[in-house]
Symmetry: C2
Subunit: 456 residues, 2 copies
């Protein structure tokens, strides 16, 4: 534990940022700022850098000591990492990467220039080099991409006494070592020895006598999301990762799982709002534009299609302009209701709670909810329309269009995830855009079509 302790109370980081900004603004001597930075835990230093506008951020980054650059780069968000790496030359990047372990270098690799990675690989000892290659070979979102190589292994035929002596010879135990992994001569996983078990057992006993079967064994190709569910469900701190022959190749720890969960949840939240990736709050206008234009373009296309649907009925609208004022209500409520249905089902699918036989049941339920909503809100709006426009037929069309649009939204809210699940596509991607496109165009068509048929 030679790194600075996180001595800050939870809400004091904002204070640290303010003080550092004041010192930067007052042009205090760099040694003073550097000393202040050195006292920060790497994660806290990362937070400070993320909270500073670009100019101040880079001024402070230049003061970070070279041996800490690597660990701070690991902690900052993707967007901020790019801005820091862009400000470093190849030599300092190689030096920073060399302070890290293989699995950590693999995390940075996507953001590093090609030639830096080559230099780093060349400088690594043989074993680390193979680990780095292995870690870089697993796709994002797999256990292989999250695992580390810090597992402590023991043999089953030694005494606990010998295990304890061996552990004492290690400088310190790697973080999150709650269990030792018991392997045979070929490196195959035989079981695990929880530290808690080691402490309460007779030291004369052999490992074999006190080890337990591994509760969960992961494979490097397993989906990280499934592994995260296993950690959550079984309250794990670490789990062994084995290849198809049962050889122990690494371990997954709960801190990597927590980071993964946070990242996924942030990505989902950002994607929902139409941001392609994490955005540095101080990004340039151009970088922000690139992060946002795709979804605006997609929405433009769907809005354009809806607009073409409306244009078919321009004759009706010219005769009865009230239709133009009422139609966004129908489409809007349809979109909201469809999003409720699809979100609930996509979530249940992701949790694995939807078995193949239950789809008809789900459809019936959603149509039931839509009928209830349609009668209630359709009735309410129909009456409001009647009252405002003094036109009972228009009120009737409004009520009927609401009901039909809500039924359409419910049917599409079940059908879209059903089709995507059958096609084995991830049912979450863009589901909100798809359902809104259906309910917008569908809602306009139903309302304007009914009005043209029945009123004009």
């Amino acid at each position: 534990m030679d790194e600075p302790q996180p001595r800050l109370e939870l809400r004091d980081l904002a204070q640290a940022v303010r003080e550092l900004r004041a010192r930067l603004a007052a042009h205090r001597p760099p040694e003073e700022l550097r000393a202040e930075l050195e006292r920060l835990h790497p994660a806290d230093a990362a937070f400070v850098l993320e909270s500073l506008p670009p100019g101040e951020r880079l001024a402070l980054w230049k003061l970070v000591s070279p041996e800490r650059e690597g660990e701070i780069l690991l902690e900052v968000s993707d967007a901020v990492r790019e801005s820091l790496i862009a400000a470093m030359d190849s030599k300092s990047l190689v030096a920073a990467a060399e302070t890290l372990e293989a699995d950590e270098i693999a995390d940075l690799a996507p953001d590093l220039p090609e030639e830096v990675i080559e230099d780093v690989i060349r400088a690594l000892p043989q074993e680390e080099r193979e680990r780095l290659r292995a870690a870089m070979s697993y796709a994002e979102g797999t256990v292989g991409a999250l695992m580390d190589f810090d597992q402590v292994t023991v043999r089953e035929d030694v005494s606990l006494e010998a295990v304890t002596r061996y552990l004492r010879r290690l400088d310190e135990l790697p973080g999150h070592t709650d269990q030792l992994f018991v392997v045979d001569r070929e490196g195959k996983l035989r079981g695990t020895l929880p530290l808690a078990q080691l402490i309460v057992s007779d030291l004369a006993a052999e490992v074999r006598a006190v080890m337990v079967p591994a509760a969960v064994k992961l494979h490097p190709e397993d989906r990280a999301e499934d592994a995260a569910r296993a950690f959550e469900r079984y309250d794990l701190v670490s789990a062994p990762v084995v290849d198809h022959f049962g050889h122990l190749v690494g371990r997954l720890t709960v801190d990597a799982v927590v980071d993964h969960i946070r990242e996924r949840s942030a990505e989902a939240q950002l994607a929902e709002a139409g941001l392609s990736g994490e955005e540095d709050v101080f990004a340039t206008v151009w970088a922000s534009f690139r992060n946002r234009w795709v979804w605006l373009a997609v929405n433009l296309v769907t809005a354009f299609i809806a607009s073409r649907v409306i244009s078919v009925f321009e004759g009706s609208i010219a005769q009865l302009a009230a239709l133009a004022a009422l139609m966004p209500i129908v489409a809007g409520i349809g979109g909201n209701s469809g999003n409720q249905t699809i979100t609930m089902i996509v979530r249940a699918l992701a949790l694995g709670q939807v078995q193949s036989g239950v789809w008809p049941k789900l459809l019936r339920k959603e149509l039931g909810v839509a009928t209830l909503n349609g009668v209630l809100w359709g009735g309410t709006l129909g009456l409001a329309t009647w009252a405002i426009y003094r036109n009972p037929a228009l009120g009737g069309v409004m009520a009927l269009a609401m009901l039909l649009t809500l039924l359409l939204a419910a049917a599409m809210g079940v059908a879209i995830p059903y089709v995507r699940a059958r096609l084995k596509r991830d049912p979450a991607v863009g589901s909100s855009v798809l359902i809104t496109a259906c309910t917008d165009s569908g809602g306009f068509f139903i309302f304007l079509g009914l009005a043209s048929l029945l009123l004009l």
Copy 2:
């Protein structure tokens, strides 16, 4: 470790559900199903129950042995828990609760009938009763509501030898015990003794010599979200919870933190889609309706206001019905763009990255992005409008309206979180609804207003 191990491979749970359903359908003898259920880890049994439609779910629930009901109730989702509790009588509920620890009972308490809680409290030993009262007294979303009381404490003036002997006398160490807490005679926290340290140290040494200062100390009133950030940032497995006098009152462990993060992220996702809470995928139509009506009603009100804005311009629309077809594009893109801005800022606020001085900088940046988007998409749409309607003036109005609506969306996307942060209100709640209401009504007003002024 007397509970069933999670022996299932990650993707095998769906298989278990299918098999149990088939056996239920085939009316196999209850003992057979019961034996199958007993072999499932409580978390796996909870998953199976969540994946079954109501009838089968309750049939299976009746077969769960009474001593396991409590732990399974803890594991199921809120919505499913309600359905299971509703099917139990007071006596079995009291019996189920009594198998749990104080902090676990407190987690169930909100779903239990008043008289059940009273019975449970009466049956508890004095110390547990006080703990239950304490745990129930902390608001949801605080550290107090998440902590447990399983901390193992030692004194600083004893030898590690004595500590080891003491630990051996315990049946087993509580889960997630990565460190022992060192307290003085009054129960004040003096430091912690990591197990990893205990194992590698000379047993003749005193605790005092090897203990380390607690890296993070939490208070029961701290926000759970802040504690989760600390766990994430500093890679903790457990952390002590102390009162204002420094007395150790409990501990927070990473498994509770992981559950909290998952729940918060699920809630955010559901709220985004307009669901008030977690919804059992097999809920009745009525239960689903109750979970969804609030947001539909809110959206109805905002859509109604937008509709009233349009109705002001019904005269213009009657003259030029193309306006009705084009106006949803302007409002829609404004809403999307505003949501991008507000999501990015609300997220940075939640992470604490937005200092009070940077708001003008943020506003300038967002207005810059909006200008870029406005010129690009406004220009594109203006040309498309010109081409479709052979009306250059209408194209010009479209382009100008897009630019102005995007600027409005950017300004509101910064202003709404700014005002809410100044008022110390949570800037996330309902921000999407608010911004969409602004951009809808604003977009219709800008487009139709410009058209009325310039074209008619």
